[in-house]
């Protein structure tokens, strides 16, 4: 079937299967930052935005993108590099395989929550698994990023 949608700011038309996931479709059209970790909504690796809201693309049928705007890390390269630099300065990206989904969710959180507390941060990002870092360095990076952006952190 054909869908008309917007991907990273560009309107486009694509052929998708009725039972295809948005994750599969995104990788097919070249958004390779979107990673598959489990296909059962269990890891957060495939997080993208639909109309600015984070979704797990493994659990969204591709036809649902019809009429919607989807954003991946390919469409947020500057912000990814800006926050990513803080992550890199902690060494907390480690293998990096969870980084795109995690960063999509961090950037969504920054838009959604003003001056989040540590507890709010941890709860917002719970669905983003990381097996390398033990999460501590991610939290340090977020704190420093928020501080650099001028928000006061409670």
């Amino acid at each position: 079937m054909t869908i008309k949608w917007t991907l990273n700011g560009t309107a486009r038309t694509d052929e998708v299967e009725a039972d295809e996931t948005l994750l599969h479709c995104l990788r097919k059209v070249g958004c390779l930052s979107v990673k598959c970790g489990c296909e059962t909504s269990g890891c957060g690796l495939c997080t993208v935005w639909m109309d600015g809201t984070p979704v797990l693309s493994c659990s969204v049928p591709a036809p649902r993108a019809e009429g919607h705007a989807v954003t991946t890390l390919e469409g947020l390269q500057e912000e990814a590099a800006e926050f990513g630099a803080f992550l890199a300065d902690e060494g907390a990206e480690q293998c990096g395989f969870c980084s795109p989904g995690f960063i999509m969710n961090v950037l969504a959180m920054v838009r959604e929550l003003k001056n989040p507390t540590e507890e709010e941060i941890q709860h917002y990002l719970t669905g983003n698994l990381c097996r390398c870092s033990g999460y501590q360095g991610q939290l340090r990076a977020i704190r420093k990023y928020l501080a650099a952006k001028g928000g006061e952190q409670r």
């Binding site: 930052s33 598959c36 059962t40 992550l87 990096g96 395989f97 980084s99 390398c132 870092s133 501590q136």
Partner: protein, 758 residues
């Protein structure tokens, strides 16, 4: 020294955090066949017949392969130096199925969807046999997991497949029974650990193709490219010279990728069809047919004097290899060697072990590699001894722990050349406020708090076996290329080796371009496992850079026309002190090419006769809800002696990550089977690893010793850091509840029920 002991950013960091396509699955050729495997629903069965005719008729199916299409030489998938201690007990596809999920057929098709559809059309008639699932009943069981005639064992590890025995071993130091007889208190306890999945975020995946020379190219997410080359050569009956293995970025390994798990399937498809082929395991496959930690049962007998001097320990370990013997004979040794050696006070010790086959998932290498299981048992037994004697668990360790300068008879008789374990303990106590507070107390909300402690050690590479090699070249313009054969799997070894090279060559880390791993181009390295890379390959970096420095100095002197013995090289230029005779590194780089036919390069290998252990103290504070039994780690202190810390950020993150994996092992992770032997919890929703909510607060510090045989004084860190949480948390729960849990993971229901019983 400028780069070593700083927190240099990982060289690949920015491409990772901006989501660049750098992993195996991002690089697959568009025309690659997509593979799906038909897997056995039975834990033990023989294939009577397979009908693939309908699957082959599906448009877009290129090949359907069964056991009849496979080479019949057995091999091991364990990534180890040849001759591997792991038995040759596998075929790519076998008629005899030994665990649920064993591969039955390979389907290769134009798309994944077609392959999936074709898999469903294969008809198999099985002779279903009763499986052997309980590893404590495996030895001499009438059910024989490996009855085949062409089973082979290359090393004298005591293999006896007719008895389901993968290997057996023992060692004794001193007069064990005599020393026990002299002890005031002797305790005997049994500890159980279960199989755990590494659960790296990137599943197993590989693609293969034939290149312009007709050679098999293998691009794979592996920790051991050179071992993959040899294993595929064995499996495919193809000369090694016809195989090239390339490792792109890896999305985590933790030992899982120290075995060939996904490589053999696309490789055989490409060999037989000539087409590129790609296989990426689903998470379910990675969970149920990966290479998990060996399930073990460890019996500890520990003897001490009334004053708390620990005099004697006797261990018996039984390990469940599962259906295949990968890493079975080697993981078990660490149970004894890397736990008993923590105690310098021992007058005698003994370790006896058996590794057995069952019809469960074949185990493999997982961070800690047996030391984790052994340390859980020994450290828990020491905690129980302290409680029995009414001693503080830190005090009993301070009285008995190994110290720098001692010999370690249980650790291959090696000397303890570098060790700040005593200072790590001191610092951990300060950080936790150990001496200032009680080990257990109750909060106003009724929750109970408890504190526990454990020590740990590991090795730094496999002594006399592991080898690391690097090649460093001076290029035109004066920058260096460093070719490495070790595999950066996210740990950052490409960067830390460049940090070492930068300090050896007096240049910046940015002056060094690092490239790994391509078995056609990289110098030989056994791979990244056994905590080897920093210590073993780092040693090769130091040697290589020393040689190259000298070559640059001599070439500079020759170009300047000055006496070689008078020339100096400061990293930027070769010069004759007190004169204007100067030639920059960039000029030497150019000149050594142009007209002199002599690129300056050096390549050295390194191997070590010893494996200096890093040490660590871990302390846990847990919060227990007595109504539900829920245990939360609210504070964890880790103080580490890994020798010189090469990269302060990466060492810290390794430690934090290892501790959280260890918390998962202690409280959450457990591979479970139904009575027929199928894995029950083969998804991330069921096999739960710690989220950031379970991770709690982790505080890490370093008390570096200086290892005289290590590069810049460094030892290892990668595996050590997973070893303290299980015993420290078990002790914290014991302190809080009075109940010692000797079986992992310690589940809420166990804690709640134990509370009710009291």
């Amino acid at each position: 020294m400028k780069a070593v002991s700083t927190g240099v950013r990982k060289k690949d960091a920015m491409s990772l955090v901006t989501g660049k396509p750098v992993y195996t699955g991002d690089l697959v050729p568009a025309n690659a066949l997509r593979l799906k495997l038909l897997r056995s629903p039975h834990a033990r069965a023989n294939i009577i017949s397979i009908d693939t005719s309908r699957a082959k008729m599906v448009p877009g199916v290129a090949a359907v392969l069964t056991w009849e299409d496979m080479p019949q030489s057995r091999f091991t998938t364990a990534g180890q130096t040849w001759p591997e201690p792991s038995p040759y007990d596998r075929l790519i596809l076998d008629r005899h199925l030994r665990c649920a999920g064993d591969p039955v057929a390979i389907v290769a098709a134009e798309t994944e969807e077609i392959a999936r559809r074709a898999v469903r059309l294969i008809k198999v008639e099985y002779e279903v046999l009763e499986p052997l699932l309980d590893f404590t009943k495996a030895l001499d069981n009438p059910i024989v997991v490996h009855p085949e005639e062409n089973f082979r064992s290359l090393c004298p590890v005591g293999t006896d497949p007719k008895r389901n025995l993968v290997s057996t071993d023992s060692f004794t130091v001193g007069d064990v029974e005599g020393e026990f007889a002299k002890c005031d208190v002797v305790l005997e306890r049994t500890y159980n650990t279960v199989a755990n999945n590494q659960t790296m975020m990137e599943p197993f995946c590989t693609y293969t193709y034939l290149d312009e020379y007709g050679r098999l190219n293998v691009v794979s997410s592996t920790q051991v490219p050179f071992h993959v080359r040899r294993i595929l050569s064995n499996a495919l009956e193809l000369p090694k010279s016809q195989i090239r293995v390339v490792k792109p970025r890896i999305g985590g390994g933790f030992g899982a990728k120290q075995s060939v798990v996904s490589e053999q399937f696309p490789a055989i498809v490409t060999k037989l069809t000539g087409r590129p082929a790609y296989l990426c395991y689903t998470r379910q496959e990675s969970m149920a047919n990966g290479s998990p930690r060996h399930q073990m049962q460890v019996k500890v007998r520990i003897g001490a004097d009334r004053d708390g001097s620990i005099r004697c320990m006797d261990l018996y370990a039984l390990s469940n290899a599962g259906a295949y013997g990968d890493h079975g004979p080697t993981t078990i040794g660490l149970v004894g060697h890397k736990s008993l050696a923590l105690y310098g006070s021992l007058r005698a010790s003994r370790f006896v072990c058996d590794v057995v086959y069952t019809n469960t998932m074949g185990a493999g290498a997982y961070r800690g590699y047996g030391a984790t299981q052994g340390i859980f048992a020994v450290e828990s037994a020491v905690n129980e001894m302290a409680a029995q004697l009414g001693m503080d668990p830190c005090a009993i360790r301070e009285k008995n722990m190994v110290r720098q300068g001692q010999m370690m008879p249980a650790y291959y008789g090696e000397p303890c050349n570098s060790c700040t374990l005593d200072k790590c303990m001191e610092r951990a106590k300060e950080m936790m406020g150990w001496d200032k507070g009680p080990t257990h107390w109750t909060l106003p909300n009724g929750h109970i708090r408890g504190r526990g402690v454990a020590m740990a050690m590991q090795g730094s590479g496999i002594s006399g076996v592991d080898i690391g090699s690097v090649e460093v070249r001076l290029n035109d313009g004066g920058f260096y290329t460093m070719l490495v054969g070790c595999t950066d799997m996210g740990t950052g070894c490409d960067t830390i080796l460049a940090q070492m090279a930068a300090d050896c060559l007096d240049c910046s880390v940015d002056d060094i371009a690092v490239r790994g791993v391509d078995t056609d181009q990289s110098p030989y390295d056994t791979g990244s496992y056994a905590s080897a890379t920093t210590y073993v390959t780092g040693g090769a970096v130091v040697k290589t850079c020393g040689e190259l420095r000298e070559k640059i100095r001599l070439e500079g002197a020759r170009l300047l026309g000055i006496a070689p013995e008078a020339a100096q090289f400061d990293g930027e230029k070769v010069f004759l002190p007190g004169t204007d005779k100067v030639m920059t590194r960039a000029e030497i780089g150019w000149a050594s090419y142009e007209g002199h036919s002599k690129q300056l390069s050096a390549s050295q290998s390194n191997s070590s006769p010893i494996s200096p252990p890093p040490f660590m103290v871990g302390m846990a504070e847990v919060d227990i809800d007595p109504d539900t039994g829920a245990v939360r780690v609210v504070d964890y202190v880790g103080v580490v002696d890994c020798g010189t810390v090469i990269n302060t950020n990466l060492a810290r993150v390794q430690t934090e990550g290892g501790i959280v994996q260890g918390i998962g092992m202690a409280l959450l992770e457990n591979i479970q089977y139904n009575p027929q032997g199928r894995m029950l919890n083969d998804s991330l929703l069921q096999y739960r690893i710690p989220t950031r909510l379970e991770a709690g607060k982790i505080r890490v510090e370093f008390v570096p010793s200086y290892e005289p045989t290590g590069p810049f004084g460094a030892k290892s860190i990668g595996e050590l850091v997973i070893n303290t949480p299980s015993p420290a948390i078990a002790e914290a729960i014991r302190a809080a509840t009075g109940h010692m849990f000797r079986t992992l993971p310690i589940r809420p229901e166990d804690v709640a029920l134990a509370g009710l019983e009291e």
